[in-house]
């Protein structure tokens, strides 16, 4: 599979090792080096998505499966743990970080049904549909600063526990000026659709622009408050994507990410703990 004989960086070892185990160790380290380079290559492939033309979904899926495979093997080996801790805080599962990096990969798709704001970027193509729950809508309507992802769409709610957590955050959001990236993860659903709820990740770019409540933008927001926001979302998402400074928030996003999985279905303790973390951060921002 891999060509043997890659240059080893490791020395022969400090201790005395027998020849056999030395060879075994060489092979093993060579293998893990190559596996690591394959992993790196795959991640780069996933991230280099074309902006203008949708990337090949089949290719993206195959690469993502390969990454998962490597990841699983490395988890078994125990080497994955080291890799992730190098990049992010503890308490975050590897798959979340992996998935989180896919936010960088922009491939937007829209479902055939007319949804007001629908974004798919799954490792290149994941579906993210932004809609708000009724209660969230009512919270936001009072504030003309249209936090667009919450704006006027009747959605299907997800788990009550998440809902309450999110509501609190939303209120906090509207009161404060949120800096980019230090947001909670809000999974919202498309209420305009009549099919089963698809709860997926929030596009953080949207949040960045929308939540500048006080300040020069508010007048502008009022002016455009009745404008159809679906296109606006896309624009802000694009600008949020393309401007360099947003790299900061994405990094933070990575570390926060309670992945973009559906909280109602695959809610794990990590999800909840991340929300708690989120609350904590919100408190810091709001409290200051």
């Amino acid at each position: 599979m891999f060509s043997k004989g890659t240059k080893r960086k490791f020395s022969d070892g400090d201790e005395e090792i027998s020849d056999e185990s030395l060879v075994g160790a060489r092979v093993a380290s060579s293998y893990s080096l190559q596996r690591q380079s394959l992993l790196d290559m795959s991640l780069i492939k996933l991230q280099l998505c074309h902006m203008l033309v949708e990337p090949n979904l089949c290719r993206s899926v195959l690469i993502a499966n390969t990454v998962r495979q490597i990841q699983e093997e490395m988890t078994h080996d125990g080497s994955w743990h080291m890799v992730t801790e190098a990049f992010c805080g503890p308490g975050q599962s590897p798959s979340e970080r992996l998935v989180a990096t896919e936010v960088l990969c922009r491939s937007r798709e829209q479902d055939a049904e007319p949804k007001l704001f629908s974004v798919i970027s799954y490792e290149g193509c994941r579906e993210e549909e932004v809609v708000a729950d009724e209660t969230l809508c009512s919270v936001s309507v009072s504030d003309t600063v249209s936090n667009v992802c919450l704006a006027g769409r009747v959605g299907q709610c997800w788990e009550k526990s998440e809902l309450s957590g999110v509501e609190r955050d939303e209120e906090a959001l509207e009161d404060s000026r949120l800096d980019s990236g230090e947001d909670e993860e809000i999974d919202t659903e498309d209420g305009a659709s009549t099919e089963s709820p698809k709860t997926t990740g929030q596009v953080f770019g949207t949040f960045e622009i929308k939540n500048g409540s006080p300040g020069p933008d508010s007048a502008l927001e009022e002016l455009f408050s009745d404008v159809d926001t679906s296109y606006y979302d896309l624009d802000t998402m694009l600008t949020g994507m393309q401007s360099a400074p947003k790299m900061g928030p994405y990094d933070l996003l990575d570390s926060l990410a309670p992945s973009h999985s559906s909280p109602s279905i695959v809610s794990t303790p990590t999800c909840r703990s991340d929300l708690n973390e989120l609350d904590h951060i919100m408190e810091i921002i709001v409290g200051s």
């Binding site: 394959l38 033309v53 195959l62 390969t66 829209q110 698809k198 999985s261 559906s262």
Partner: protein, 434 residues
């Protein structure tokens, strides 16, 4: 032995890259689609009785722009005009019909000939100007006069807005009324007369896109049973479905998968098992699948393994890492049967293509290139040297040009005539055995 009949050389432009090749049901016409959204149709010359040994050559019959590039404003994405597939409808009158599809839209084109023109109108002159009414003193009947042959292509139906993902296959049903179109996650069934709606018959999209691990790679209708179709996946499986079973054919009637050989497992196992093409045999008894390294023939009555496996370029197995790096491992090769189902053909790299005789188990590697073959010359078999000493005329694996790939090939439905698309060139080869 195959000899080169003629070749159509297009310019070396990206938009001229041929993306699909298809003979019509009689073999008289050969259609190609390219990356620029154009369709070029070739017609076989009538065999002249004077030249008994000559076989018809294919000449350009019609050229038209099938699809234009589009921009999806809602998603801010370009929709490529590249023609992914062309499928001919069986001929029912003097005109020819074909379906052409890009990533999102399928169009039904009518190609018709006009070789007569009406002359002698009462109300207008020959050049079209209205005649002065006072000058019309007699009534005459217009007569049909011969004119230079004109081939017209007109779009008769446009089947749009039914695919969120990229269309990879279209297949005309044996009932000649319906056809299916497949994208990465869904398959739709259309009626040829109805453009504003289609039935979704397969949907493998998960509720949470993050759970997506498998996509549809190809689909085809059974050649005789209009209720049966198959679709292949990126995990190397084929599902046969019966539309009589349910409206949504998410549950297959048959599931074809070859168990994996654990000794050859690698990180690339899944990628190379991804099926890039599936084709029923003309008899309808077998189907053929193409994955990255091999072609497999399946008996529809046996689901647990193929009945025949042919290695296309096994020497690439040790190069999978490099091929993954340069993305070649994702190339989608097609395959085709000959008219009698006794032979199969598929493409490879370095402009090589391979043919396998199912009865004799012999195989041959040929090259489609201008440098190595002149018109009417016999094609020499090629060989790839996998190791050790390279013999004369052999080519070593490392010298293969991976940019020259033959993804699209087609075999005449009745005769030993094949069409091979090598990037932007089309080669037509013919059997010279009399």
């Amino acid at each position: 032995m195959l000899s080169q009949v003629n070749l159509d050389v297009k310019g070396v432009v990206d938009s001229d890259i041929i993306s699909t090749v298809e003979f019509n049901c009689s073999g008289e016409l050969l259609a190609t689609g390219d990356k620029g959204g154009r369709v070029v149709i070739f017609q076989r010359e009538q065999e002249s009785k004077n030249r008994l040994l000559s076989r018809g050559e294919y000449n350009v019959y019609s050229t038209f722009q099938s699809h234009e590039p589009e921009f999806d404003y809602l998603k801010s994405l370009e929709i490529e005009e590249k023609i992914n597939k062309i499928r001919w409808l069986p001929q029912q009158n003097a005109a020819h019909f074909l379906l052409s599809a890009n990533d999102k839209t399928i169009k039904l084109w009518k190609i018709s000939e006009r070789d007569k023109r009406a002359e002698g109108y009462n109300l207008k002159d020959e050049d079209g100007r209205l005649r002065d009414q006072f000058r019309i003193t007699t009534l005459r009947v217009p007569v049909l006069m011969p004119m230079d042959l004109m081939v017209e292509a007109s779009p008769r139906r446009i089947f749009a807005n039914a695919h969120t993902y990229h269309i990879n296959s279209i297949s005309v049903n044996s009932d000649y009324e319906t056809y299916l179109s497949a994208d990465d996650l869904r398959i739709n069934l259309w009626h040829l007369e109805i453009t504003d709606r289609s039935f979704n018959i397969v949907d493998i999209k998960p509720a949470n896109m993050e759970e997506l691990t498998e996509v549809i790679t190809a689909a085809e209708c059974h050649p005789h049973q209009c209720n049966v179709f198959v679709y292949s996946s990126s995990k190397g499986t084929i599902r046969l479905c019966d539309t009589r079973a349910a409206a949504l054919c998410d549950r297959h009637s048959k599931f074809f998968e070859e168990p994996e050989d654990p000794s050859s497992r690698s990180f690339f196992s899944e990628i190379i098992s991804s099926i890039s093409d599936v084709k029923f045999s003309h008899s309808g008894r077998y189907m053929m699948t193409r994955d990255y390294l091999s072609v497999k023939v399946w008996d529809l009555n046996m689901e647990n393994r193929p009945v025949e496996t042919y290695q296309v370029h096994e020497y690439l197995r040790s190069k999978l890492c490099s091929l993954y790096e340069n993305d070649c491992i994702f190339d989608k090769f097609e395959c085709c049967w000959n008219g009698s189902d006794s032979a199969i053909m598929t493409g490879s790299y370095n402009n090589f293509f391979r043919m396998f005789d199912r009865n004799t188990r012999r195989d041959i590697t040929l090259e489609a290139s201008r440098e190595n073959s002149k018109p009417r010359a016999m094609l020499k078999p090629r060989k790839v040297c996998t190791g050790g000493k390279r013999k004369k005329d052999e080519i070593s694996v490392d010298s293969l040009d991976f940019n020259k790939k033959i993804l699209h090939t087609a075999w005449h439905p009745k005769e030993n005539v094949i069409a091979v698309a090598a990037t932007n060139n089309l080669y037509i080869f013919q059997d010279k055995i009399n």
